[in-house]
């Protein structure tokens, strides 16, 4: 145990512990799942850590707005932990935070493509105020630009510009957002991998386990989706995926691209993860995706066991928080659509059976 590590991470660890204790308990999840309707759900949520974010006029609190409001919590915890975490771990958290900026940019470009108004787009975005290169004003300008080339020109001051301006050629030919979105995703994940590799010692080891697993899952799902849904060629799948990862090797991706049995490849990578039987047949990608998300959640929880003074702890908490908010989004949409519990409960990653045993 190094004194510097303990010194640097003691405050971060204390803060993460405090934040971790505010995550929704299994009992709260049960109550949320059993909520009668959207209003009851909001009522229960108002007594949780998300309560203060939902304090706006009830008439304005549509399901979409409610999701937007609870995302403010994620913005707050990211900003707090980025501020507290020392370098070089801070750089990693900044990279994780950038993912939402990339998602916002993609949503904004979708808005440009479909000719959506700013009012239609604004609450689909992740609220971000600090540690960003694209401000709300920039995003609004992009949406209002009404033209893809002009929109991309408005990102000139950001690191996304070079990627987008090059991919614009393809957009012009294909009139499809796919090349722009894939280019942004690949670029983002390369930067993320780079920031993992800039870490050393236990920081690197733990981050690789936590963030590397997320990167693996994304890469794996891309490869499978490109093959099953988009019917891309072997070469295209390879070019649209990443050659690095924690447990997922390039050979695995290339095997999927070349047409190998998906269930076998995934089973080989994760021998201890239980996948739903449908996956063995090659279908039901959403079930596979859910299993992999649960694996990520489990890995993040496991990071809290053992030596605590490393950047893996804040990273794991932030990822858990993201999954909690994703699950809440599912719940909000389900309750707003008046779906029965059995229709959506299996779609929640943080409330998996493992949750009951692993919790804290």
């Amino acid at each position: 145990m190094s004194v510097q590590e303990v010194q640097a991470y003691s405050l971060v660890h204390a803060t993460v512990r405090a934040l971790y204790s505010t995550m929704l308990t299994p009992e709260t999840w049960d109550t949320l799942v059993q909520a009668q309707d959207f209003d009851s759900l909001l009522n229960i949520l108002s007594k949780t850590v998300y309560g203060s974010y939902l304090q706006i006029e009830r008439q304005e609190l549509t399901p979409r707005r409610a999701v937007y409001q609870i995302r403010w919590h994620m913005a707050d915890v990211y900003e707090k932990l980025i501020r507290l975490t020392p370098e070089p771990g801070r750089e990693l958290l900044l990279q994780l935070w950038r993912l939402y900026e990339v998602d916002n940019l993609k949503a904004t470009l979708r808005g440009v493509e479909t000719g959506a108004s700013w009012d239609q787009v604004r609450h689909l975005l992740y609220p971000m105020t600090k540690y960003i290169t694209l401000t709300v004003a920039d995003t609004e300008k992009i949406v209002r630009s009404g033209d893809m080339a002009r929109a991309i020109e408005l990102t000139r001051h950001t690191s996304y510009y070079n990627t987008l301006v090059h991919a614009l050629e393809r957009y012009r030919t294909e009139r499809n957002l796919f090349p722009l979105e894939v280019a942004l995703d690949l670029d983002y994940h390369r930067w993320l991998w780079q920031s993992i590799n800039q870490l050393t010692g236990i920081d690197h080891e733990q981050t690789l386990r936590v963030v590397g697993t997320v990167l693996d899952v994304n890469n794996l799902l891309w490869a499978i989706r490109y093959r099953v849904y988009h019917h891309l060629s072997e070469q295209e799948i390879i070019n649209y995926t990443l050659p690095f990862g924690y447990q997922v090797r390039d050979e695995d991706i290339r095997a999927i691209a070349a047409g190998a049995n998906i269930a076998q490849v995934v089973g080989h990578i994760y021998p201890n993860v239980e996948f739903p039987p449908l996956v063995s047949g090659g279908g039901a990608l959403s079930a596979l995706e859910l299993s992999l998300r649960r694996h990520v959640v489990k890995t993040c929880r496991a990071a809290f066991i053992g030596y605590p003074f490393h950047v893996g702890i804040p990273a794991a908490y932030l990822l858990l928080n993201e999954h909690e908010i994703r699950d809440l989004t599912v719940l909000i949409e389900a309750k707003a659509s008046r779906l029965p519990a059995e229709a959506f409960v299996s779609m929640l990653a943080t409330r998996s059976p493992a949750y009951q045993t692993d919790q804290r």
Binding site: P26, Q55, R170, S233, E236
Partner: protein
């Protein structure tokens, strides 16, 4: 001052023909925070009624068009006008904007097309440069029968991946030039695999270079032709730019004025769409500070005497989304900014601004005590407040904080006897930190104990205001926590100081009792506040968890208290840094010549800039994480008075 301003809920019933002047009056008052009241109506709106929603959408579209013209002419919208511009009818605005679009469209399009052409030509040129020496006819490359050739640019990051993807396909990827992001490459293969190669290249974002058919000679000849074409295009662009600059000068004022007119009209229409609607009247609801209520009523009556006004002032504890208006004196406004950066106080809780206005300069002064340095900071603060230095205008809001910190640093400078690092000129009224290190550290821990206790007292006051009696008594930052903290301090002190006014046994009993209360605070709070079940979840898990939490609380008390040692440490560090400056100055010029004074001045500037910044950050950290966390939760709703001339965006 210690609490957000008391707010009144206002509901107005406005006759249809008065809705515009009344809305303008509400906006002009600058105190009316509107809330959605469209749900208050319910009657069918008559067909002849104006459709404000449609007007708002029309104005939004017009605004977008004006902004598009402004962007093409590179016109900045500038700050909002001091007075609300006259509202405009959509038809008039439409005519205006159509005229402006017509005037600017052709020159701007020519300029844009010219720029695109120039960029394209430049790209061809850049791509041809690496193969300038090749004696190959470009026309021949286009029409190869058996060989596949693809020349183009691609991201450097994708090079390796493309090579990997083509491992099993007979092909060769040659990099001709590599820049920071992009590489110019040639992909060779056979025509038989053209489809695979094209798909692979496309997926690696290899953008093919396809110079127009006109460039069919050798690369060197094509480059020469391109260069002359680029020159011609540049000349053409200069002419276009002159025209656009002229248009900019001609229309800049008209565009800005029109934009603000349309924006104000759009905001007005949007505001009215949020009103409730009856057959002949509108229902308007919102919040106004109680102190401004009379003035607002008079202003509304001045506009229309047919408006019915209903005012209700809810109690602080009343559940509801009441916007929070902080009413601090002018001198504290800058500190208010520091508070709202952390969080906006809730309507029912204490506003920590007065506390931070006192403690922030105090903590800063302790760490940065020097008469000279404080004076420089105070003068810098004055410069910020005066807004006379253009480059510093953006920081003018922080001017008052810098002034107060400067004054506090001066006061502590007198206490420490330090002026610009010289420690023999003034007689210290208290002590020299460098010579009394233990004393200053202990003193600052004492101040820290005081500040932490103040934080807990504030938490108790907050709990009283919100009538959370269980929280007040049992919370670890409540009464039990305060007694626990002080009895632990007493026990610690009794180990070092023999004669305390309270016996250690009594302190131990107090610590035990309050410790138990804090340990089981959650259950006790729920018991007192009548919430059930008393224990959420598993009892055995709870029993295992509580001692750990108690341990965490004790550790937190210790670390929070010791955190304030940094105040003393920085006071010592400040003295040490100044000492180092004088040692360096002595080495440079032992006879105290020009070199000596240059080092002293530069060193002092370094201390003010660098250490001042660090001390500022540390002060903020102590306020946010040690002090605020004891009592301040934030999450209050922002008070946003209606205005018709706000900038676009959030």
């Amino acid at each position: 001052m210690f609490r957000p301003q008391a707010m009144s809920k206002v509901e107005l019933v406005v006759p249809e023909h008065d809705v515009v002047p009344v809305t303008k009056a509400l906006a002009a008052s600058g105190v009316f925070h509107p809330t959605l009241s469209s749900h208050l109506g319910g009657e069918r709106v008559p067909h002849y009624a104006e459709d404000w929603q449609e007007r708002a959408a029309t104005f939004a579209e017009l605004e977008r068009r004006i902004m598009a013209v402004m962007e093409t002419l590179d016109v900045d919208e500038g700050p909002p006008p001091a007075e609300t511009p006259h509202l405009i009818e959509p038809e008039t605005a439409q005519m205006d904007i159509e005229h402006l679009e017509w005037e600017t469209r052709a020159p701007v399009r020519e300029l844009e097309e010219g720029q695109r052409k120039l960029a394209q030509l430049q790209r061809y040129l850049d791509q041809l440069k690496p193969i300038a020496d090749l004696e190959v006819d470009l026309g021949t490359l286009r029409n190869l029968r058996y060989t596949f050739v693809l020349l183009g640019t691609m991201p450097v990051a994708n090079l390796e991946r493309l090579q990997t993807s083509l491992e099993l396909i007979p092909s060769a990827l040659v990099t001709l030039r590599r820049e920071e992001h992009l590489a110019t490459v040639v992909l060779f293969g056979t025509q038989r695999d053209a489809d695979i190669l094209n798909r692979a290249a496309r997926s690696a974002y290899l953008n093919a270079l396809e110079p127009p058919e006109t460039y069919h000679d050798t690369p060197a000849e094509a480059i020469a032709a391109l260069k002359s074409e680029i020159e011609r295009t540049r000349q053409y662009l200069t002419e276009c730019q002159t025209t656009v600059d002229y248009l900019h000068e001609t229309y800049v004022q008209r565009l800005c004025h029109l934009l603000w007119q349309v924006r104000a009209s759009r905001t007005l229409a949007e505001t009215i769409t949020r009103y409730g609607r009856l057959r002949y009247t509108y229902l308007v609801a919102g919040w106004v500070p109680v102190s401004q209520m009379d003035t607002l009523q008079q202003e509304i009556k001045h506009v229309s005497d047919k408006v019915l006004i209903e005012v209700d002032t809810p109690s602080r504890q009343e559940d509801g989304h009441i916007p929070v208006a902080l009413g601090n004196p002018l001198i504290m406004r800058a500190f208010q900014g520091l508070v709202t950066t952390y969080g906006r106080p809730r309507y029912d809780e204490l506003d920590p601004t007065p506390m931070i206005a006192l403690t922030f300069p105090l903590i800063f002064g302790i760490m940065f005590g020097d008469v000279g340095h404080g004076l420089v900071l105070a003068l810098l603060g004055l410069a910020l407040v005066s807004r006379k230095v253009r480059a510093l205008r953006g920081l003018s809001g922080m001017g008052a904080v810098v002034i107060m910190c400067g004054i506090a640093a001066m006061l502590f400078g007198f206490l420490y006897g330090s002026i610009f690092g010289f420690e023999g000129v003034l007689k210290p009224l208290w002590m020299l930190p460098l010579e009394n290190i233990m004393d200053i550290l202990l003193a600052t821990v004492g101040i820290g104990v005081g500040l932490l206790s103040l934080g807990m007292v504030c938490n108790i006051v907050n709990a009283t205001l919100t009538r959370r009696w269980g929280h007040l008594i049992f919370d670890h930052n409540g009464l039990a926590g305060l007694i626990f903290y002080w009895s632990l301090l007493g026990l610690a002190a009794s180990a070092f100081v023999g004669d305390l006014p309270i016996s250690p046994i009594l302190l131990a009993v107090l610590a035990g009792a309050s410790g138990l209360a804090v340990t089981f605070s959650k259950v006790l709070e729920r018991l007192v506040e009548g919430q059930r079940p008393l224990i959420e979840g598993n009892l055995s898990a709870y029993l295992i968890q509580t001692p750990i939490e108690l341990f965490e609380i004790i550790i937190a008390f210790l670390s929070n208290t010791l955190s304030y040692v940094r105040m003393g440490a920085f006071a010592v560090a400040h003295g040490s840094l100044c000492l180092v400056i004088f040692i360096m100055a002595e080495i440079i010029s032992p006879a105290h010549g020009m070199g000596y004074w240059i080092v002293v001045v530069l060193g002092n500037l370094f201390v003010i800039g660098f250490e001042g910044l660090i001390v500022g950050i540390q002060t903020l950290r102590l306020e946010y994480y040690e002090f605020f966390s004891k009592f301040f939760s934030g999450g209050g709703m922002h008070y946003r008075p209606l205005t018709l001339v706000s900038r676009g965006g959030e």
